[in-house]
């Protein structure tokens, strides 16, 4: 076919335009081919040189799988997931490239390049030790950084693990969280093989059981190629990592959820933020549930919390990071009367037939010490004094017992000292003595202060855990058990289960009869309707309320107050018999800074007990206007407490 046939085609098939097309296409395809040649031949990476005679090697640490945590039914509360950390080894990063690398890393990791540079420069260890600049990096980003090693000298990816908490915020205060080892921790733990870059448990069980959960890291030796990159084929195995031990808790997911539900309703109803609920088995000290509000999202820590988020948690006035069940102390109010009553009955200051006369107030010097209802009830025996929670009755009893005896019995019940619970217990409460007052305020205890000490006001302060544990001793006939979160420890390698036996801290040196008197009196707290309609629920609950004023009065001179209620049930919760020390369930509810008419803590315990013993149906909770649950049903729709959004 010849181009002469173009003669009759006019403008179409113009040779010039065909030529132009061919020329353009030729140039374009040649350009592509040239660029391919440049990329694939000129820029092609040199083959890795394996220098077998003088092999450079690197000792790499293999982290051990951290022990898991299960609830008492074996439901996992936490799991380990693969995580990537970005590290920079200062020796491999030329000084003049640091800024460039920081900028590139910054744009990859969405971090401030200045922050990255500071991290690298601030590292105090050897120049050969990698510095972690980012945790919790996605696999995609990690792969990207790994493949671009040329553009990022000194930057390496370390494959680590991180925790994934499976129950949202429900167990945050108990489980705690992990974090980068601090300087002080490192100096303490250095001898146990920790490195300055390690992640260690910082709070809760993660902190308390760090040694068990951690396991022993293994190691391997990796040969390096000429560029200092590890050669995966040339790995010499060293020690295998030894898995950490797993924990099985006494806590039960369902109990915890019910407790949280009841408490969340309570703080909402009282329009406050802070509260505590703990559930304990008085027979052995096993903790079945423990919730402190407000709480935090421990996954934030597992994912590597940002500085601003951490600051927000730290500076929050309601202190979400503190587990208030064991980490904060408050005036116990009338709940403390159990100490005064035990002291009075044990040293014979009062017996079941004697009465003390309650009055509107007791005057000491120019100060009036008021009855809580500003009227009194006239002569009261110990049952009535306890069940009406008469302040004037216990003022008199406290003075008869005396400060020394009060302090003795407070100590016997476990106040003013650690309960021994297997969590980092940062508060131990105060039992005021003359020595303590001298030491702190350089003066002895005054009469009025001793009276206050007898009703849980003034200097008395306790942690919710101590208070519940004391009532457990009352309910079980005088045994002060060590509260126990963990039921058993499972060895990470052998799988051998070590049950943790209940530990008896103390046996109250008083007669069973005396404790029986107080138990019956505590049942009368409920039956005398001191606690409102708590008597109407089909569960037989005995307990003690407490309100303790604190802080600064508002414009109308009213002080905010803590609300307490500790309730416990007999072994058969539907038969009203508190003569036997057979209780299996004791609950404390604490509401911080409430300003309500009734005692919200009582309602919280009522709701929890109703849920626990299934005496209330979900439908009733939603529909019955009289139950707290009605309001709870309403709050259900407006809040998303354990949902994804974090609670303020």
């Amino acid at each position: 076919m010849s181009i002469t046939s173009a003669g009759n085609r006019g403008e179409l098939n113009n040779l010039y335009r065909f030529g132009m097309f061919v020329l353009v296409a030729g140039v374009a395809v040649t350009t592509l081919a040239a660029r391919m040649f440049y990329l694939q031949v000129v820029l092609a990476p040199p083959p890795a040189v394996v220098n077998t005679t003088n092999q450079a090697t690197e000792l790499q640490s293999i982290p051990a799988p951290r022990g898991l945590i299960y609830d008492d039914t074996g439901q996992p509360l936490v799991q380990n997931v693969v995580d990537f950390a970005v590290t920079v080894t200062p020796i491999d990063l030329p000084r003049d490239k640091e800024e460039l690398v920081a900028q590139r890393l910054g744009s990859i990791l969405n971090l401030d390049p200045v922050y990255i540079e500071t991290q690298i420069d601030a590292a105090t260890g050897s120049l050969y030790l990698p510095v972690t600049v980012a945790d919790g990096v996605s696999a995609q980003v990690a792969g990207f950084i790994q493949e671009n090693g040329d553009a990022l000298p000194g930057v390496k990816i370390a494959q680590t693990q991180k925790r994934e908490y499976l129950t949202k915020q429900l167990f945050s205060d108990v489980l705690g969280y992990e974090g980068r080892i601090t300087q002080t921790q490192y100096t303490q733990l250095k001898s146990e093989g920790y490195s300055p870059d390690d992640i260690v448990g910082q709070a809760g069980l993660e902190g308390y059981y760090e040694q068990d959960l951690r396991g022993t890291p293994g190691n391997q030796t990796v040969a390096l190629d000429a560029n200092g990159e590890p050669i995966p084929q040339l790995v010499t195995h060293g020690k295998d990592p030894i898995s950490g031990d797993s924990l099985t808790l006494n806590l039960d997911y369902r109990e915890q959820a019910m407790a949280a539900e009841a408490l969340a309703w309570g703080v909402q109803a009282a329009k406050v933020k802070q509260g505590v609920i703990i559930v304990e088995n008085p027979q052995n000290g096993k903790i079945l549930a423990m919730v402190s509000l407000p709480t935090y999202n421990d996954q934030l820590f597992a994912d590597g919390i940002s500085g601003s988020d951490f600051q927000k948690l730290l500076t929050d006035p309601s202190q979400p990071l503190i587990n208030k069940a064991i980490g904060a102390q408050y005036a116990p109010g009338s709940t403390y009367k159990v100490v005064t009553a035990t002291a009075g009955l044990s040293d014979g200051s009062i017996n079941t037939t004697q009465t003390l006369t309650s009055q509107p107030f007791i005057q000491i010097g120019e100060f009036k010490y008021w009855e809580w209802n500003r009227q009194g009830w006239g002569p009261l025996n110990i049952y009535q004094g306890f069940s009406y929670s008469s302040d004037t009755f216990f003022y008199q009893l406290a003075l008869e017992v005396g400060l020394k005896d009060l302090t003795y019995w407070a100590d016997q019940y476990g106040f003013g000292k650690p309960t021994g619970i297997d969590l980092p217990e940062t508060a131990t409460g105060i039992v005021p003595t003359n020595a303590w007052k001298q030491a702190t305020q350089n003066e002895p205890m005054y009469t009025g202060e001793i009276m206050y000490a007898g009703i849980g006001q003034g200097f008395d302060s306790v942690t919710p855990m101590q208070l519940l544990n004391a009532y457990c001793a009352l309910a079980n006939g005088g045994n002060v058990w060590q509260p126990q979160i963990v039921k058993s420890v499972t060895n990470g390698v052998t799988g051998a289960v070590t049950e943790i036996q209940p530990a008896l801290m103390n046996k109250l040196p008083t007669s069973a009869a005396n404790l029986q008197v107080i138990r019956v009196a505590s049942r009368q707290v409920v039956t005398s309707q001191h606690t409102g309609n708590l008597v109407d629920v089909p569960i037989m609950i005995a307990g003690k309320t407490g309100t303790a004023e604190f802080g600064v009065p508002d414009k109308r001179g009213r002080l905010p107050y803590h609300e307490w209620f500790i309730g416990y049930t007999p072994a058969n919760p539907f038969v009203d018999n508190f003569t036997q020390p057979d209780s299996q369930l004791a609950v404390i509810a604490f509401i911080y800074g409430a300003n309500t008419w009734g005692n919200v803590a009582t309602e919280v315990v009522k709701l929890y007990m109703s849920l626990h013993y299934k005496t209330i149906s979900r439908l009733a909770i939603m529909l019955d206007r009289r139950t707290p649950g009605y309001i709870m049903g309403w709050t259900y729709r407006t809040t998303n407490f354990y949902g994804n959004s974090t609670r303020d």
């Binding site: 403008e11 113009n14 335009r17 097309f21 395809v29 592509l32 081919a33 694939q40 092609a44 493949e147």
Partner: protein, 384 residues
């Protein structure tokens, strides 16, 4: 005087002129190059399906689906070859309307990539994703060829240019709304190539090109952020290594890693985004190396050459423009697709003809090539 009935003669006119003799005009080279390129595409689909971990093939894997589409394409190629292309010319405008309806349908019920949030590019029919904008490319070549063939006598008039832009307008806007910048660029390039090859006034074409250049700042300010970022990353991929630059960096790394001979099929290791379609060249270059890449580039060059030869030989302006349009379209897509992988051209979502995985693309190309072969078979004998 023919012994055949006049009605029979009319029917014969639709069939190739002189029976099996017409097949002498069949361009076997053209079909061979296309089939070879499709085989490369199948190899890439296989590599993408089993990956470097050698997963087992599933019915939903690109490879199995590619084979299915290849079979469909062969049928389409055969049918369109046998079919008289002159019918296509009379159906050009109805096809144009159907095309617009399909593009509106895509916008209404289409599913997107999710990347840009509102993107709607595919229509799912019986479990198969179909991208009508691929079909639109071929239909528009047909429409443009028909339009220009009708206006041969007024080719130098600026109204020819204005008219073809008016025809381009509706589908172009519908494609941009998806948003599919790549296809809209292909359409513009095809129009430009066709106008040039059809002999439109160079003065007016030049004026238009100058106008388009002047409009760049305005268009730029109206582009979505991700589109702007994509265009900028060709200059400095490290400006946004996690976003728009990621693809560019990864793609060039894959190409570089290939070296002269490549790592071998399925041995590619560099993670590539959309490795089955837009960035298939990265996989090809890594696994088949410079040698394989050059073979494919040469195949494309030969294919385009055969399209131009086909265009040159045709005596029918419509047929000539049809092959010129096909040549422009394929040429533009090859340059942009390969160019973006090797960092010469900004990243736009344009598939590599025959090689990229995609039923609509392959079937559309087969239809276009079949129509071309149909013009070959029905070519009037040149006057010697």
């Amino acid at each position: 005087m023919s012994i055949l009935h006049p009605q029979t003669l009319k029917l014969r006119a639709w069939a190739p002129k002189s029976g099996w003799l017409a097949w002498r005009n069949y361009d076997f080279q053209l079909t061979t190059y296309a089939v070879l390129l499709t085989l490369f595409g199948l190899a890439m689909a296989y590599s993408n399906s089993v990956g470097s971990t050698h997963e087992s093939l599933t019915l939903n894997s690109p490879f199995v689906r590619s084979i299915m589409w290849a079979v469909v394409s062969i049928v389409v190629l055969a049918l369109t070859t046998v079919f008289d292309y002159k019918w296509l010319r009379s159906f050009a405008w109805p096809l144009y309307l159907i095309n617009i309806v399909l593009l509106i349908l895509t916008l209404r019920i289409g599913v997107g990539t999710g990347e840009a949030g509102t993107a709607a590019r595919w229509v799912v029919i019986a479990g198969f994703q179909f991208q009508f904008s691929e079909l639109a490319k071929i239909i528009m070549v047909l429409v443009f060829a028909s339009f220009l063939a009708d206006r041969q006598d007024r080719m130098k008039s600026p109204w020819t240019i204005i008219g073809i832009l008016a025809v381009l307008g509706p589908p172009w806007i519908l494609v941009l709304l998806q948003p599919d910048l790549g296809t809209s660029l292909v359409l513009v390039a095809t129009v430009a190539g066709l106008l040039f090859m059809a002999g439109a006034s160079l003065l007016w074409l030049g004026t238009l090109a100058a106008g388009a250049l002047a409009a760049i700042p305005f268009v730029w300010s109206h582009m979505a952020d991700y589109q702007q970022a994509r265009l900028l990353t060709v200059l400095n991929p490290w400006a946004d290594p996690q976003g728009a630059g990621y693809q560019v960096i990864q793609a060039q790394k894959a190409v570089t890693a290939g070296g002269l001979a490549g790592k071998g099929l399925t041995n590619g290791q560099v993670a590539l985004p959309v490795s089955t379609t837009d960035f298939v060249w990265g996989v090809l270059a890594e696994e088949l190396g410079l040698i394989g890449s050059l073979v494919v580039l040469i195949l494309f060059a030969l294919l385009i050459w055969r399209l131009l030869v086909c265009s040159w030989r045709s005596t029918d302006p419509f047929a000539m423009l049809l092959s010129s349009g096909m040549a422009t379209m394929i040429f533009f897509q090859v340059v942009v697709n390969v160019g973006m992988v090797i960092g010469l051209v900004p990243v736009t979502g344009i598939p590599l003809p025959f090689v990229s995985y995609g039923g609509a693309s392959l079937v559309s190309l087969a239809a276009g090539l079949g129509a071309l072969q149909s013009t070959n078979l029905r070519r009037e004998r040149p006057e010697w």
